[in-house]
């Protein structure tokens, strides 16, 4: 007697899966990672590996301890570990990425309910935690190629006075900065890959970067419309943040209109912090602050309901 499965429709599904999406994000980050290791040397590689391994181990251990299903194979912990590493200076001692990953996974992610339940971006939250706790280690930069010499990043030079980097250096990545944020071209390539694979909505990076460009140009140092928008767009962690952090599903709004509002908000906050705040860079804090507002955005910006407009 043949047996058939009975279930409620639909009976076919798309081949999309959480694991495939995570895999695509990792692939998209490879150019920036490879470039970072190439330009900053082997320590950058150890930072990346330590961060990813610590994230995956922390998740597996915690899920075992909490008697939950171990879901490390979906790749989300690996992505968090990689993103955190790319947000760290290349010369940090290895206990920094390890501690950061454990904080990101154990506290920000797992303690709040695991995948899909974190209320802020885990990698950025970990970076903020590390920056606040060990500010010296987290702001010691290196000139690419040379040994670890304290030097400024392009944005620090802009804010505190110093030698400005050239556009081509910033585009290619031969500047100081975090492991994954220096090469605009590597990050753009990764971003385009994610857009082509329909993993990210292009609205977020376009509006985020566009808003920063507009505001930094308008609020120029010598008066209105004198700002160096291109310098701001290529410098700092904007590319990394706009393509890979602000687009994180869990911490961004669900509707198209909500995403646009979120991206504009990130752009405004980043510009305000860079231009008038105490830090030379504002991407991490802007995204974290906007993450907190996402539940309100989701309530206020709903998709247009079919048949919902009453004349």
């Amino acid at each position: 007697m043949d047996q058939y499965i009975m279930s409620s429709s639909p009976h076919v599904r798309s081949s999309e899966s959480t694991a495939r999406i995570m895999r695509d994000v990792i692939i998209a980050l490879l150019p920036a990672t490879a470039f970072g290791v190439y330009i900053f040397g082997l320590n950058a590689l150890w930072v990346v590996l330590a961060s990813v391994a610590a994230a995956m181990l922390a998740e597996a251990l915690l899920q075992l301890l909490m008697h939950k299903k171990v879901t490390v194979s979906d790749g989300s912990a690996a992505v968090t570990g990689l993103l955190l590493a790319l947000n760290l200076p290349p010369a940090v001692p290895l206990w920094i990425p390890i501690l950061g990953s454990v904080f990101a996974i154990a506290i920000v992610k797992q303690c709040f309910g695991g995948l899909g339940h974190n209320f802020i971006n885990p990698a950025l939250a970990a970076r903020a935690f590390l920056l606040v706790s060990w500010p010296t280690a987290m702001t010691t930069w290196t000139i690419p190629g040379a040994d670890a010499v304290s030097s400024a990043t392009p944005l620090a030079a802009l804010k505190l006075g110093g030698e400005l980097s050239s556009y081509s250096d910033m585009f290619l990545g031969s500047i100081g900065g975090c492991i994954g944020e220096t090469s605009a071209i590597a990050l753009i390539l990764g971003g385009l890959y994610l857009i082509a694979r329909r993993v990210i909505d292009p609205r977020i990076p376009v509006i985020y970067i566009g808003t920063v460009a507009l505001l930094t140009w308008v609020a120029g140092p010598q008066g209105l419309f004198t700002g160096d928008a291109l310098y701001h767009v290529l410098g700092g962690g904007l590319m990394l943040g706009a393509f890979f952090m602000a687009t994180d599903y869990t911490t961004s709004p669900m509707s198209a209109s909500g995403k646009m509002v979120f991206a504009a908000g990130c752009g405004i906050l980043t510009s305000v912090i860079r231009l008038w705040g105490g830090y030379p860079e504002g991407v991490s804090y802007s995204i974290l602050l906007m993450n907190l507002v996402v539940p309100l955005i989701d309530k206020a910006f709903l998709p247009k309901r079919f048949g919902g407009v009453v004349k």
């Binding site: 058939y4 499965i5 409620s8 639909p10 076919v12 995948l115 198209a256 309901r305 048949g307």
Partner: protein, 444 residues
């Protein structure tokens, strides 16, 4: 060629395999063999089940009425073979719930009921007479919903109808029955449409066909030449055939929440239904057979003209049986069809397809955490929030679900299809909808 019209949201299911239609779209309609025993449920339509007018032991002819309509929202039922009434008892039904049915033993003579003849020329029939003919022939929506056609074509006088659309979208993957009917009987279909135009008093009508059926578009366009009938090409997207989305795509009118097509002056009829209306008028034939797409993992995917009441097992046998180990046998299409636990249930008025899915074609997977990707929101054709509504449902927060418009859900399944975490989105909303309706009934 008309412009490609569409709606917001929706998906392209199984696009990589040409929506599965390649299996049967080139197969001309073939007559399925007749079984020894036919099982005709009294309920093959929306509305009150029909009442038997025969008894066990009666001899019946093909096309003879064996059950009459019981009330206004009901239709009569006709024998699809000649033979003897063997039993009136509970038998399997594709809905899953065994249902009272009239079982007839086939004498294989196919004697047509002598009363069957054309009731007259369309030009001589009044709109009311046409509606009576449609009810008298037991006609219901052939797209799957099986709503009594005579009721649909009798809107209350205060609802003015100015738009009539024939639904030739057939947006479900794998199904090609409507495609073949439009391709092989375009003239009859157009003449059936003219009858409906006369009933509703509209001067022009649309025939909407998805762009993946270009041969049908050409054939129907040729048949509709010189008449006030616009053949419009629809962008290929699921669920284009859903009536709200179809009316919007053709006319840009949105049926208000909780409303019906007549609320925006529109009526939508399935292409197969319109063909059947023509058969009732020009040949006097009642509804006792229909085209069914038998496809998927079967040895000869085909479009068969099947006598109503034929058990699924007989139809599968006619196409050479299954081509492998089958995991799911579906009556209908893969997006909204009903899974069967056995092959004993009969083909009925609304059965547009029989789809056999083997392990490689089904994608069952365990639910995992919602990652809040928003894909479900992006594809929902009704602009709802499936992630939120299904979550309310699993926490039994049905009032919250109702407040967030879960009743607007058309259960198309686009959300469940795209979810990367394999969450049971539409299933949760379906549950919430049925619970809310049950609670409303209890409150009365």
């Amino acid at each position: 060629m008309a412009s490609k019209l569409t709606f917001k949201g929706g998906i392209h299911p199984l696009k990589a395999i040409h929506h599965g239609k390649y299996l049967s779209e080139k197969s001309a309609i073939e007559k399925c063999s007749v079984p020894e025993e036919i099982i005709l449920p009294l309920s093959q339509h929306i509305g009150a089940p029909s009442t038997p007018v025969v008894q066990v032991g009666d001899k019946v002819d093909m096309g003879q009425m064996i059950a009459d309509a019981s009330g206004y929202v009901s239709v009569p039922c006709f024998s699809s073979v000649s033979g003897t009434v063997k039993a009136i008892e509970s038998r399997p039904h594709i809905s899953g719930k065994p249902s009272m049915s009239i079982v007839i033993e086939n004498d294989f003579e196919d004697r047509l009921y002598p009363g069957i003849k054309s009731p007259g020329k369309l030009a001589d029939l009044s709109p009311k007479e046409i509606v009576d003919i449609i009810k008298g022939a037991g006609l219901v929506g052939m797209g799957g919903a099986a709503f009594p056609t005579h009721v649909k074509l009798s809107p209350p006088p205060e609802k003015k109808i100015d738009t009539l659309i024939v639904n030739g979208a057939e947006c479900e993957p794998y199904l090609t029955a409507d495609h073949r009917v439009m391709l092989e009987h375009p003239d009859e279909m157009v003449r059936g449409l003219e009858a409906v135009m006369k009933v509703l008093g509209v001067n022009n009508a649309y025939i909407a066909i998805e762009d993946n059926k270009r041969d049908a578009i050409a054939a129907v366009s040729k048949a509709a030449q010189g008449k006030n009938i616009d053949v419009v090409t629809m962008h290929v997207k699921y669920p284009q055939g859903a009536e709200k989305q179809l009316i919007y795509a053709v006319t840009k009118r949105q049926i208000p929440s909780g409303g019906l097509p007549m609320d925006v002056g529109a009526v939508v009829v399935n292409a197969g239904s319109v063909y059947q209306i023509n058969l009732a008028i020009e040949k006097g034939l009642p509804l006792f057979e229909r085209v069914v797409t038998v496809t998927g993992s079967v040895n000869n995917p085909s479009n068969l003209l099947v006598r109503l009441g034929t058990p699924i097992s007989h139809v599968i046998g006619f196409v050479g049986g299954f081509a492998g180990k089958i995991e799911k046998l579906i009556a209908g299409g893969p997006m909204m069809g009903i899974t069967q636990h056995s092959l004993d249930a009969p083909v009925i008025k609304g059965t547009s397809g029989l789809l056999a899915l083997d392990a490689g074609m089904v994608r069952s997977a365990e639910e995992s955490s919602c990652i809040r990707c928003g894909k479900c929101v992006y594809v929902c054709p009704m602009g709802l929030l499936p992630y939120l509504l299904s979550d309310f449902s699993s926490h039994e927060r049905f009032e919250d679900a109702e407040k967030n418009h879960v009743l607007d859900c058309i259960e198309c399944g686009s959300c469940s299809y795209v979810c990367p975490a394999n969450r049971h989105l539409v299933q949760g909303m379906r549950l919430a909808k049925s619970q809310i309706m049950q609670n409303r009934k209890k409150a009365k």
